[in-house]
Every structure is written in structure tokens, then in C-alpha cells.
Symmetry: C2
């Protein structure tokens, strides 16, 4: 049910690792017939959401995406100022940042600002859905976001990504209790080995987190010396972005972050 939706779902197969996809590959990925896959692609192409490389004949996300993103920015002006704020913070700490927003039931990457200071950096995939149990952002969302996330925790099996991934609901809840105290979450290689993540909540008008701001550091640069700077930056971002999205910090939220 929903031809339009099925067509749109084609777009989900694009990612950082797979920015161009051919017809046959689309058919394989989606399980659809080549004919119907092609029809969907044609529709998306006519609208400009994808475009075909005339040489390779494979498809990539099209220019309409930019137009729509600009319109989104008009409807929700928070994003553009958030980007600028993140760019400043990136210059300060010299590490990559990513902002994720809770969308329906999942935590989606909304904005990525990569560091230009180091050539060894964490490169985030903007098409990624962040697992709630394995990332700093996810744990942060569990702690400060809508309560249904925590309630749903026991009902679904949590995926294990690395040895450090938390999968036991009890263990996760314990961790959430700590995060509620400190105000920030971290994930040291629990999603991807060698990646340290630090995240803080962004609150909505109802004082419930609507998203998170996170700093991703490669293992080699993650040290006790760098942590204080990261935490002060994170706290400032959490405060500023909450304001930028028209939200309000809860009264109980710490005024600074401690290791």
C-alpha cells in the first residue's frame, strides 16, 4: 500500500558508502522487479530527487533535495543557526560534530560538521539512524527524551555492534540513571571500535529532549587532558542549541559538566 512511499523508499538505499546506485542493484536491494524499480526511479528523477549520471547510467540524489532542505529551513529556522553554532564549536575543539533529532521513533542524524583540523577524523554518515543503545546520542536520548523510549527498551532485542555495546536493559537503565545526574553521555567504542562519542541533550519547549548534540573523537586523540574542553564545549552547545530550537532546559539540568 502506497506507491509513492515505495518510490520514496528507494532513496533509503543511498548512503555515505553507496552514493551511486544502478538499476539492477536497486532491484536487488529493494526486492522489486526491475521494471517497477525503474518506474519509481523515473518518477523520482522527474521530480529531481535523483539524477542519472549519463555516463555510468547509475543514479544519485538530485538537486531537489537542496531546494527542499532550504524550505525546511524556513519552516524550522533552528537548523541553520545550529549549523553555524556547530561550525564555531568545531573550530574550538577541532573534532567532528553531529546533531541528531528524534523523528517518529528513531534518532536520525540531521547535521554533520566534520573537523578540518585533523586528517584522522571520524566521518559520520548523514543517512544513518543511530541505535539507541550503542551511541552516546542514543543513551542521552534515553535519559532526557520522551519516556516511551525507555519503556520500549525491554520489548525489543538490542543489537550488539562491538564488545562494548550495552544490550542488557537493566544495565542500560543503570547507565541512564548516571547520565541523568551528569547531564552528558559517552560511548567509548560501543558502536564502532576506535570511536569515542560524547553527547548532550537538546531540549524542546516541554523540557523533553528533542535531539542531541555529539562530539566524535578518534581513539588516538581521546585523552583525559582533552576531556574538560570537550565537556565545556558540549555544555555550551547544549544550552545554545536548546535556545536556538526554542526549547527550555529543565531546572534540574546541571550548570556544568564534570568528568
Amino acid at each position: 500500500m502506497g506507491t509513492a512511499l515505495n518510490a520514496l523508499k528507494m532513496l533509503n538505499y543511498f548512503s555515505n558508502a553507496r552514493p551511486e546506485i544502478g538499476l539492477s542493484q536497486f532491484a536487488r536491494l529493494s526486492g522489486l522487479n526491475k521494471a517497477t524499480a525503474l518506474r519509481h526511479l523515473r518518477a523520482l528523477e522527474e521530480y529531481g530527487l535523483i539524477e542519472q549520471n549519463p555516463m555510468t547510467r547509475s543514479y544519485a540524489v538530485g538537486p531537489a533535495a537542496l531546494r527542499l532542505a532550504a524550505l525546511r529551513q524556513i519552516a524550522r529556522p533552528g537548523i541553520e543557526s545550529a549549523r553555524q553554532r556547530m561550525q564555531v564549536a568545531m573550530q574550538d575543539v577541532g573534532e567532528s560534530l553531529h546533531l541528531s533529532l528524534l523523528e517518529k521513533d528513531s534518532l536520525q542524524t540531521a547535521l554533520v560538521v566534520e573537523t578540518n583540523r585533523h586528517s584522522v577524523r571520524v566521518s559520520l554518515d548523514p543517512s544513518e539512524v543511530l541505535p539507541i543503545n550503542a551511541t552516546a546520542s542514543g543513551l542521552c536520548m534515553l535519559s532526557f527524551g520522551p519516556s516511551f523510549l525507555l519503556e520500549r527498551l525491554g520489548q525489543e532485542e538490542q543489537t550488539r555492534y562491538t564488545d562494548a555495546t550495552l544490550t542488557d536493559p537493566a544495565e542500560i537503565k543503570e547507565r541512564v540513571a548516571t547520565i541523568n545526574q551528569t547531564g552528558w553521555a559517552n560511548s567509548n567504542g560501543s558502536y564502532e571500535n576506535g570511536v569515542y562519542g560524547y553527547a548532550a541533550p537538546i531540549f524542546g519547549i516541554d523540557q523533553v529532549a528533542l535531539g542531541t548534540i555529539a562530539i566524535a573523537v578518534p581513539e588516538g586523540r581521546a585523552s583525559d587532558e582533552s576531556l574538560p574542553e570537550i565537556l565545556t564545549t558540549l555544555h555550551a552547545l547544549s544550552t545554545d542549541l536548546t535556545a536556538s530550537f526554542g526549547g527550555q532546559l529543565p531546572d534540574t539540568f546541571p550548570t556544568e559538566f564534570h568528568p
Copy 2:
């Protein structure tokens, strides 16, 4: 024919002036039945391309637009560096800039950087399709873009927007000849009264313009004194953005712009 495309076309009714639209208004704008309009909106909403304000029940562009724009940036990395380059230029000249790209047969706004120096500024609509006969960008595209644009000029009636709008094909071709010499185009209130536009081409690898970069100045600040700075900025942008998009300037292209 094409349900998916019809659904996507719903998105075209969003604009700067109309960032939120209700069901009935959608039905009126599109000429569709309310039931089918609702079905389309539901499909778009499920994908996240639009979202419904739970209070007002009207719809706005959703977060999926951001994700797709980020993916677009991976496929065509030119845009992000273009934004940064434009931001720098905006600081230099203190006026709003917009980059437009030729998409199929029409010139679409792709990126807008508004000035933060003046409170009286030209505010561009990112959802806008630029008329080829009435804007500086359009004339520039006619002069340096693919030749079918010029060929098609006589076949369609050109819309008149203000008293200054060029509508006579012969007159336009004369103007194009001049622009070919100087390298830049201007439009003084020919699209909207009180708006002065200055545009230069961005070339592709085939030395044919794939888009334009333009500076928009409100009448009050458009003077002979400010023109030289605008032209040097414009020329630098034209060169840099051409490089940033992996293109090549034609050998005949002027090395600087003169009034």
C-alpha cells in the same frame, strides 16, 4: 500517470511565503480531491518529507529533506564548499548572494546566503524558479549556458514582471551579445521593482555554464561607487565556483569585469 510524482508535486506548493499548508488549501492549490491530497500527504509524511503540526494540523517540509540534502552533498561535493565560499563573499560585499543551477530546462535556486550586515536586504525564495528573461542569472545563463535556451527563446511568450522586463526576443539577443563580451549580467528591477541583480556564470567541464552566481542589492544601496567591488567579488566567485564544481572557464572569458 505517475502517482509518486503527483505526490511529490505537492511539495511544490511550499514556498518562502507559504511554509505551512493545510489539507483543504492543498486540495485547492493542486486541484485534487481532498481524499487523494490527504493520501499523498500521508505518504510524504510517513517518509518524513513533510510533517504535520499537531496543533494547527497544517503541513510543513519535514526532516527527511535535510538527510537527502546531506546525501546530495556526498554525491556532488561542490555545494558545501560553494556555501562557504559564498559566506566569505557575503562578508566582503555585505549583500545577499544566491547560486542557481540549470536543472532540466529551468534555472533553479540552489543556495541562498543572506547578508547579516543590513536589515534592508533582498530576501530570496529558495523554492523559486528564475525566469530566464527577467533576472540577471537568467540572462547570464542565456549567454553562457547550453544553446537550446537561446533557441527556445522565440518559441515561448516571455512573461512581463515589471516595466523593465525584457520580453522581445530580438532585444534579449542583443543584450546577450553584450553579456558575452563583458562576462557579467545585471537586471535592474526587471524582475522585481527595487531589486538590482548582478550575475556571473559558473562553468562545467565542457565550458558551458551549468549555473550562475548572483548578488542581489536593494535599490537604495545600488550605486556607481559600490559597483566595482561587486564586480571584482563576482569575478572571483565565478572563477572559484567554476573550479569548485570541477569546471573550466572558456579561453575567451574576460579576466576581469568592467562596468
